[in-house]
């Protein structure tokens, strides 16, 4: 096994918990240590206020009203799209499609790009560490078209097997669908290099950015990918809003995947013509307030600075990695050299689900289970893990609470080892 990358020696730099009202509440009589950010993040007051302010001051439907309020709401919605464009450095705001989240974005690509193009024997390349949302939409499209899935294996450390990747790439490869950051392991994948290789064989590349955008600066043009999907709610924004980036020349040739209002140019019973992207892919009244909340969240994280967020979380990751490794009986799952702030682990003799319940009683919120990555759990021969996932508002106190709660669980289960470092 690789040694985990030598931790950054910088201390955590951010102290922003006060911006997040929910973090002041107590849970089960304890201070809340919220370490389930991989599932969803908490929202800063700036985001909560932006959404409320929209409903108080600006609410109207978009793209159809001649009245002032509708034009005002439309301007805010369009501005939100431009904010997303700048955030991930897309070339044009027309390359940003608002969706309900990552899952819907991937399904959109599967049905609108994949279904009309793929034929029997075409290959879709993904990896063992994908979230179910980057597996199941492709399985559905395989059933529809006769295309087949090929899977890049993962090493014991939780890194992609790049040799196997090279071997799997071929002239039948039509699409590479790969996660930027593994939600279950924290592994950061070399998506730019993989995109270059996939393009060399003529494949299109979709990157699942759900676990990446909140934790590091993302530049879709630098990655070079054709599609990039992410959710707002893992980025301090409301639930029910997310975005799909698609390169303009691909979006232009993709048919609508849902029909309705707002996505048409003209409708007649013998012929309907469709609006250009991105409207073509946004049938019906969208989540306008959500888009405005997402823009507020992006303004918030950019105000903090993605580089500061990254440094802070890397320092916490190093702190937490050391702290967990120092607990006898604790084993980390996912020790890639390049990791985001995700600590997946097992405690000897304590099932993750029992651990989750006991930690909760201590005010420590983690995720326990398969993390919607059942093929990955099968790969590691485990039913699931306990997962602590970090956000910009976490501090060493949260990880100290985690460690103390693990000790309590070990005491309760009678599995606490004698003190001393595990060898």
């Amino acid at each position: 096994m690789n040694a985990p990358r030598e931790p950054a020696m910088t201390a955590p730099v951010l102290d922003l918990a006060a911006d997040f009202p929910i973090l002041a509440r107590r849970v089960n009589g304890r201070r809340l240590a919220y370490l389930d950010n991989g599932a969803t993040t908490q929202k800063p007051a700036a985001v909560i206020d932006a959404e409320a302010r929209f409903y108080r001051e600006s609410n109207a439907n978009i793209h159809r009203g001649v009245h002032w309020l509708s034009q005002h709401a439309t301007a805010l919605y369009d501005a939100a799209r431009a904010t997303v464009q700048r955030f991930i450095n897309a070339a044009s705001a027309d390359e940003i499609v608002f969706t309900r989240g990552t899952t819907e974005a991937i399904n959109l690509v599967a049905q609108s790009w994949g279904r009309p193009r793929l034929t029997a024997g075409d290959e879709i390349l993904l990896s063992t560490m994908e979230h179910h949302s980057n597996i199941v939409p492709w399985q559905l499209v395989c059933e529809q078209t006769g295309a087949v899935l090929k899977v890049i294996p993962v090493s014991d450390d939780g890194e992609l097997d790049m040799e196997a990747f090279e071997g799997l790439l071929g002239e039948r490869t039509r699409l590479l669908a790969i996660t930027h950051v593994s939600n279950a392991l924290g592994t950061v994948n070399p998506v730019a290099a993989m995109t270059r290789r996939a393009h060399e064989v003529g494949a299109v590349v979709l990157v699942d950015g759900a676990q990446a955008v909140a934790h590091q600066a993302v530049d879709v043009q630098a990655i070079g990918c054709d599609f990039y999907a992410f959710s707002g709610h893992k980025l301090y924004a409301p639930t029910g809003i997310g975005a799909l980036y698609g390169r303009a020349e691909l979006l232009r040739h993709m048919p609508p995947w849902q029909g309705g209002g707002d996505m048409i140019r003209t409708v007649a019973f013998d012929k309907t013509t469709f609006a250009p992207p991105p409207q073509r892919f946004e049938a019906g009244t969208p989540n306008i307030a959500g888009a405005i909340g997402l823009a507020a969240a992006i303004d918030y994280v950019q105000g903090v600075g993605m580089e500061h967020i990254h440094a802070h979380e890397q320092a916490l990751l190093a702190y937490g990695t050391r702290a967990l490794q120092d607990i006898p009986g604790v084993r980390l799952v996912g020790t890639a050299r390049d990791k985001a702030g995700i600590l997946s682990f097992l405690v000897e003799g304590i099932h993750p689900h029992d651990l989750g319940t006991i930690l909760d009683a201590e005010g420590v919120a983690i995720r326990a289970g398969h993390h919607c990555a059942m093929p990955l759990m099968t790969r590691f021969g485990i039913p699931g893990t306990a997962r602590a996932s970090l956000a910009l508002y976490n501090g060493e106190a949260d990880l100290d609470a985690l460690v103390a709660a693990i000790h309590k669980a070990q005491d309760l289960f009678g599995t606490r080892h004698d003190s001393g470092r595990r060898t």
Partner: protein, 154 residues
């Protein structure tokens, strides 16, 4: 100590730890007349329950699988509890245990002495864990009624 801490100790009692560490009747039963699989997709718990029924009486009961302490202990306690009972009594016990764990007991019904199984009642305070405790029982019910589909907790 908070209520939650009390509830935690109410649930995680020595009986649970004992049956988790040393599950009773943990083996496949080649001579089984009935068996069924149970699966909780949410937490990945998986088990198979085996029964040997003769003349309407459960002569042997066993299980294999993996799960959390609550689910393992519940399965282990269950196999002990049903051995030697008539099938209709086992079905009645299933219904009563299910009511006990989900807090849906009929106030009018006669009070049953659950014996060691009473410890499982602590799960009521943890709604997301109830299905851990009921999985083995649903699987038992399926084994007896011959429903071959994998049991899922509700």
């Amino acid at each position: 100590m908070s209520d939650m801490q009390d509830s935690l100790r109410e649930l995680y009692q020595e009986v649970i730890f004992d049956h988790n560490r040393n599950p009773r009747n943990y083996r496949p039963l080649p001579a089984a007349s009935h068996h069924a699989d149970g699966h909780n997709p949410l937490c990945g718990d998986q088990l198979t329950v085996y029964l040997q029924v003769e003349d309407g009486i459960v002569r042997e009961a066993s299980f294999v699988g993996h799960g959390c302490a609550i689910s393992t202990a519940s399965a282990s306690l269950m196999t002990e509890a049903v051995k030697g009972k008539r099938v209709e009594d086992v079905e009645a016990l299933f219904r009563d245990v299910h009511a006990l764990l989900t807090g849906t007991q009929d106030a009018e019904a006669p009070v049953r002495d659950f014996g060691k199984l009473q410890v499982l009642a602590g799960v009521k305070e943890f709604p997301v864990r109830v299905k851990c405790a009921t999985l083995a029982w649903h699987t038992l019910h399926n084994a007896l009624t011959g429903e071959h589909e994998t049991a899922h907790t509700e």
